[in-house]
């Protein structure tokens, strides 16, 4: 029996779930790899993990449908990329892709919306699907349905032509059949959900545990990461490949600094996630947040904030790079105060650090 898979990746970002999402979106950096599916956790994105899992289960024909280009270089061979004109057209493209796979001889197609982290067994779903003999099976957890379906391609090309995807209950009588799973599920509905997944990974509650070298108990550092000798890493933390941690920086309490990110000198990162290609300035304090490019998501307040000041936060993966104002420019703009040295900001931050971390 030939089984193939269609992965649907939309452009949903974590910042789109914030209470002020519309306001925050103005001025957001144009970086397509910022969708939830492509956000890396411990060096691997949701999309990469899903592809790896399908490959592990012996499924070789995989199609990725999305409106953007996703980094899947490691799995290049055997993966068909289908570009949708817009994010909302992904599912209709997926529909066409299922028909194409059917024409190639696939009898069963797994349709997966890559937007939540789900620990499930491909073999278990297929066994359930074949045992029930119904054309459509959907994976459920205790909270309800998940965007994973096993579809009989023959039925799809005849009875289900013209249906709207993703599949909904009531469209076909008695379908889809629910396959209940008991594994770890995180819907990644907001930044708090993302932070929970990181935390659960560190605590080994999920299978997202870092797989790189553990230089000290609870401190994982990927090859190529550069950490200043005066920086402090307090377990559990993860530092991704190519990340740079500046002098006297403190990374602590379930924080993860992903690939190619930079943490400036003296900055404190506490219970926060810095996603890949993000630069965090010097002398800052980041607590209970998720940083994705130039977007800052405060987990406690559920607000997203687009920061245009590259001295604070910068998306180093974006095509457009705003110019960093020099110290001289800032000083010139404050000449009304007639200060020869306007380093008060750094002095104040330094004094506070001394008091707090004595």
């Amino acid at each position: 029996m030939q089984v193939s898979a269609v992965l649907v990746v939309d452009d949903r970002c974590l910042s789109s779930t914030a209470s002020n999402a519309e306001l925050a979106y103005t001025g957001r950096s144009d970086n397509k790899s910022r969708s939830v599916a492509c956000s890396e956790i411990f060096g691997e994105s949701l999309l990469t993990r899903t592809v790896k899992q399908l490959r592990g289960a012996g499924i070789e024909t995989i199609s990725v449908v999305g409106a953007s280009i996703y980094p899947l270089s490691k799995f290049g061979a055997g993966i068909t990329r289908v570009a949708a004109a817009r994010s909302c057209e992904c599912w209709s493209e997926a529909q066409r892709e299922v028909l194409r796979l059917k024409a190639q001889g696939s009898q069963t197609v797994l349709m997966i919306g890559v937007s939540a982290y789900v620990e499930w067994q491909v073999e278990e779903l297929l066994r359930f699907h074949f045992a029930h003999g119904m054309p459509l099976t959907q994976v459920h957890d205790a909270q309800g349905p998940l965007e994973i379906w096993a579809v009989n391609s023959k039925w799809f090309s005849t009875a289900a032509v013209g249906c709207t995807l993703p599949f909904r209950y009531g469209e076909f009588p008695g379908l889809p059949v629910a396959c209940i799973i008991g594994g770890y599920v995180n819907r990644l509905a907001d930044a708090a959900g993302f932070r929970r997944l990181v935390r659960d990974g560190f605590l080994a509650r999920s299978e997202t545990r870092p797989l790189c070298k553990e230089i000290r108990p609870g401190v994982w550092v990927e090859d190529g990461a550069r950490i200043h000798k005066s920086a402090r890493l307090v377990a559990p933390v993860y530092i991704g490949a190519g990340a740079k941690i500046g002098a006297s920086a403190v990374i602590t309490r379930f924080s993860n600094v992903e690939r190619n990110s930079t943490v400036g000198a003296g900055t404190v990162v506490d219970s926060a996630s810095i996603l890949s290609d993000t630069e965090l300035g010097a002398g800052l304090e980041l607590s209970g947040t998720v940083l994705e490019g130039n977007m800052l998501l405060d987990v406690r307040r559920n607000v997203a904030l687009c920061i245009h000041d590259p001295n604070l936060i910068r998306d180093i993966g974006a095509r457009y790079q705003p110019a960093i104002p020099s110290r001289r420019q800032i000083e010139r703009s404050m000449q009304a105060f007639a200060f020869s040295d306007s380093g008060f900001f750094f002095r104040a931050a330094g004094r506070l650090s001394e008091v707090l971390f004595r």
Binding site: N311, A336, F345
Partner: protein, 134 residues
């Protein structure tokens, strides 16, 4: 102690960023360079704040404190609080929900220490307050 002085409420523009700082400084500096300046910055319209803006707040605070005054912030939107926390200056300022509360805080006696129930007997606590006021 800045008490019973004229409190100046300054409504800040939508963007308190590098490009808007020169204009803002021209308005703020005369306010901060008086004796006992009591300043309240109304943040209700502010949507954008950068490092230069934070630095202006700190410089204004420094100027005010040098002249025995104070600077308080009012109606700060959550996204601006996030910036203040990020730059670690949130703990240097008193932040109030409304301008009225911030203005009242200048006029009222600083009795925050007495808000909590005192462990001393009532009479001795009253005596202490009397002594302090005297």
């Amino acid at each position: 102690m800045p008490n019973c002085r004229t409190v100046v409420v300054k409504e800040l523009p939508e963007s308190v960023t590098l490009h808007h700082i020169p204009d803002l400084c021209r308005e703020i500096v005369p306010l901060a360079r008086v004796d006992w300046p009591c300043l309240v910055f109304d943040f209700s319209n502010v949507r954008e704040l950068d490092r230069a803006g934070v630095e202006v707040l700190l410089l204004t605070m420094e100027e005010a404190v040098k002249r025995n005054g104070d600077l308080k912030l009012a109606a700060v939107p959550p996204q601006i609080v996030v910036i203040l926390e990020l730059t670690r200056v949130d703990r240097l300022f008193e932040i109030f929900d409304t301008c009225a509360e911030a203005v009242d805080s200048f006029h009222s006696f600083p009795v925050r220490a007495f808000d909590k129930p005192s462990k001393l007997p009532a009479a001795s606590a009253a005596q202490e307050i009397g002594l302090y006021r005297a």
